[in-house]
Symmetry: C2
């Protein structure tokens, strides 16, 4: 190595040693007759010193070092007079005896510091410089540690990591595929996998028993903060298991990661039925860092001539504890916030439980003090609380109230990034009706098994059929989901039929899997974790961008390498394709 030590390892035990360090110039400053230069690498920061004892030319060279110059320095480890207890190398400094400039650097377009002055676009263009900043670099180191621990944990449980193909076959279910024209098979295309779902199931048919893979997956969907066209899954499948086994093993994995990577010991994960999650939180991924559960008020409010309530399918409220001090202006502003098209709630009704014990609602015209007292009791409200109420169509109003609950949680400081509230949501519906296409879609995917006792409902009431499906939710984010799969050809065929596939379509797309089920397919099930999301939660980030080394922007572009880009006509000719732009 060009160095004897990294910039993070020298301390008082090295006093007097002659060492060679390599790294980047973080900053330099002159204090009286002394020049200090901080040299940085991935491992830390070390202070170099050039003082009156230093050769004059060398000191001049030290003063001339620009920010981000790459240097190699040799010198002696001295004890600092002015110690910095915040960093491991803070007790020592290096009295420089020689410098070699390994590479110069132009002035970077933004500050390479924990807090930078660079805007998002500039930092994206110079991602390689943004990655020099400790907060971003540490996210990737954290991610690495997580991946290592995932592999260790699963390997110790006899899971085998098997690489499944990236060039596969396009299927009509699910999101849009990215496709790859085949030169050797003109007119035909590969697709990039949205998940290795069918392959991992085939591995179970092959008897692999326990499979996992940390694997890139691809979806050609419109993008937002927590979506990227390519993303990474921790993909797992097991044979001869029940849902209970899977929940236990992967709860174990999650707790192991929190323990090993973050030093946090989590309690047993609570479990909640999907139906209860929708009723109490209006969401299949409730943020359980705080309570503020929904209270359904139909029985309390109907028949009092208030048409908004009387005409509503559902009247539902939450108790924002301690928020009775909200002013009229604040409540108006909240009402406006709810009206935004993303939420679309038309009217917010509230009741203050004032600190003097009085109750005051925005619908006092229709409800008397007894009514309001009953409301307060239903919410377990105390003096100082604020009840917020929405009314309307059940599905819509639950969604709106979910948004309001999360917003109030944020405003009341109940969503601390260092608190982790995991939750298993179980018993998802098998199917959901899609208004646009007028047919049922698989809520998870077409390979999810229905609960045996609900199979009969498939013909009569498909929307009521529950699946052997489960999601792992942390802090309101779905970080994993899976199911016990269908392993029987007839049941799989029935499922495709209910999803609107003709027999021929099903055979053409998934014939290989249904055929495989006829040659001795074991009962099996699995789960996939969104690794980017899990890492972002561990890193305390809202977006997955900064746990990805080279992410794409909202247009799917990598602005650093300027991709996608046009390709040569010769390439297209060879692939026998043309663009029609």
């Amino acid at each position: 190595m060009l160095r004897t030590h990294t910039c993070g390892e020298l301390n008082i035990s090295n006093l007097g040693e002659t060492v060679t360090l390599t790294g980047w110039v973080q900053k330099s400053r002159d204090l009286g007759g002394t020049t200090f230069v901080d040299i940085r690498d991935r491992y830390g920061l070390t202070q170099l010193v050039f003082n009156t004892d230093t050769d004059a030319a060398l000191r001049e060279q030290g003063r001339g070092l620009g920010r981000e110059f790459v240097i190699k320095v040799t010198g002696k480890v001295l004890e600092r007079s002015n110690k910095n207890t915040k960093i491991p190398t803070g007790e020592i400094e290096i009295a420089v005896e020689g410098i070699e400039i390994l590479n110069e650097a132009k002035i970077p377009p933004f500050l390479i510091e924990d807090d930078t002055d660079g805007g998002e676009e500039l930092r994206a263009k110079y991602r390689y410089l943004d990655l020099r900043r400790a907060p971003i670099r540490n996210n990737l180191i954290l991610r690495h540690k997580m991946a290592q621990e995932v592999r260790r944990y699963l390997s110790d449980l006899d899971f085998i990591e098997v690489e499944t193909p990236v060039l596969i076959k396009s299927t009509p279910e699910g999101a849009r595929d990215f496709v790859v024209p085949s030169r050797m098979n003109p007119g035909e295309f590969y697709a990039l996998p949205q998940s290795p779902q069918t392959f991992k199931q085939l591995l179970m048919v092959s008897g692999f028993d326990r499979y996992f893979q940390i694997v890139k997956c691809f979806r050609d969907e419109d993008l937002r903060a927590d979506r990227q066209p390519e993303f990474t899954q921790i993909d797992c499948e097991l044979s001869f298991v029940t849902q209970e086994d899977i929940l236990n093993i992967f709860e174990g994995l999650t707790r192991h990661l929190f323990n090993k990577v973050k030093g946090i010991e989590l309690n047993e994960f609570p479990r909640m039925y999907y139906a209860d999650a929708m009723r109490l939180y209006g969401s299949d991924k409730p943020d359980r860092r705080f309570g503020m559960e929904f209270v359904e008020m139909n029985d309390l409010v109907k028949g009092k001539d208030f048409s908004v309530f009387d005409n509503a399918e559902l009247v539902v409220g939450i108790n924002a504890k301690g928020a009775a001090g909200y002013t009229r202006k604040q409540l108006d502003e909240l009402t406006e916030w709810l009206k935004r098209p993303q939420i679309g709630a038309t009217g917010l009704i509230y009741m203050r439980y004032n600190t003097d014990g009085t109750l005051k609602s925005s619908v006092d015209k229709f409800f008397n003090e007894d009514d309001l007292t009953n409301w307060a009791a239903a919410f377990g409200a105390e003096q100082g609380d604020l009840i917020l109420i929405l009314a309307g169509n059940t599905d819509k109003v639950r969604k709106q109230m979910n948004e309001l609950r999360l917003e109030m949680g944020t405003r009341l400081g109940l969503r601390d990034k260092n608190t982790f509230a995991p939750l298993w949501v179980i018993d998802f519906p098998l199917l959901e009706f899609d208004e646009e296409s007028g047919r049922y879609h698989a809520m998870h995917h077409p390979f999810t098994s229905p609960k045996p006792e609900d199979i009969a409902l498939l013909d009569t009431n498909p929307g009521e059929v529950r699946a052997n499906a489960y999601d792992l939710v942390i802090n309101g984010t779905e970080i994993g989901g899976g199911s016990i799969r269908i392993h029987n050809k007839d049941l799989q065929g029935l499922m495709f039929k209910h999803l609107g596939f003709s027999k021929e379509e099903a055979q053409k797309q998934f014939g290989f899997l249904m055929d495989a089920f006829e040659y001795g397919a074991p009962p099996h099930g699995g789960i996939a974790f969104g690794f980017d999301r899990l890492a972002s939660i561990f890193a305390g980030l809202d977006s997955i961008r900064d746990v990805i080394a080279f992410p794409k922007n909202n247009s799917g572009r990598d602005v650093m390498i300027d991709s996608p880009s046009t390709i040569a006509d010769a390439q297209m000719t060879e692939l026998k394709i043309k663009t029609t732009v």
Copy 2:
């Protein structure tokens, strides 16, 4: 779990326990009044027994179990009277008390045994059944162990695994890219990476210091046994290192893998200059499990009026030890073998050193006994040896002699799959002249640095410039290669110029990298291992196919899932492309 134990773990210590096993019916047989059924899973094989003590109906059910049925059985662990010492469970059997058929199985299209009767195509179509066979499954388990050990070894050395993007930018250098049309950026394409080369270099610019990744790469090239359109690399890069550091670290990794995964302790790897490898073996990846080095004979053979030798640029021979007994017919057959178009050698000359001490050549007309004695001395030949000689253009004759040497090594049994002969080949040429395009190409890739002392030759004699490049060869297969990279913008620009790039082209394709070099790029270098090849060598296979779970055939097709395939017109419309087939 549906089972209490796997099929590989019960032994004499479990006698008397009531256990539940799940797995596949391997085979069943009736012996007198007793029915034996072998049940198999990934972990092993256990014998089930139904005898006269067994309930008659249950025994009937046992006799009715077909091959590959998936079953769950409960029973008691008994000591076998007839023990099988070859398997860990061979001392016990299970007296069955209950069977549940979890899934039936049609008769498989080929035998699910170590030696199968299925042809290659049939097995490819039913890959999920072929994967049930222990030899194939064990390859993938071996591969998993190797990957785990790679990660452990490198992580312990402070390497960080960073995922680089799969959707990148098409570049004109190297092999053909697979491309992916971008829906959000119509008319533009992503490319799939042939390697993460530029990204890993950018990570060095970012200060990651030590990076690795086990990563899928893609090349749209015509296929053969050891090539797949998607393949896996162990990709590594380090900063502030010399070539010596890299050779040491990755020799350490390779030895670690051999030790941990195969229990083999390898000696220090020898090193050889590229020029010597070409001179002594006619190949940059010599198989060093055996000697049979080339002996150049120009000084010995010229000027004796044998025009074939006199007109040849190079006359070169090998000593096939102990092969003097080769008959005229065998030698004629070898001459024919050499004439095949893949090799294209026109004439084989030989000299036998007979066991009676006489020397006899196929060119006795031109060379007397003294000449032949000199030849024998040059080859260190002994009684019983056979000298084989080719003559012609240096490059061609070396290639031909390389083929002949390997063939003779095989025929003489010198290429044992359980012997491992690693070799570092160093000091590769930087450039090689390509007759077709009439210009120099990068022998490794355009980011490889020239030896500083050879830079001046770039203008005068580019073919003589040596690179800081190295390959790791095992048993004649290149399993890894890398270089110390260029980290200076001007030198990188010069390199692109010599590769025939205009300034504009270089900027358009690789501007982001050259820009990065201006912001403080550290000296760096790296290596990439072909993980499929390494795994195939560990598994003792000639092809990489069976260390890949779902490989493609020579037309790039996955015949199991029938991919690539046509896609819907609507998909193409959305992507704004058309096929021109």
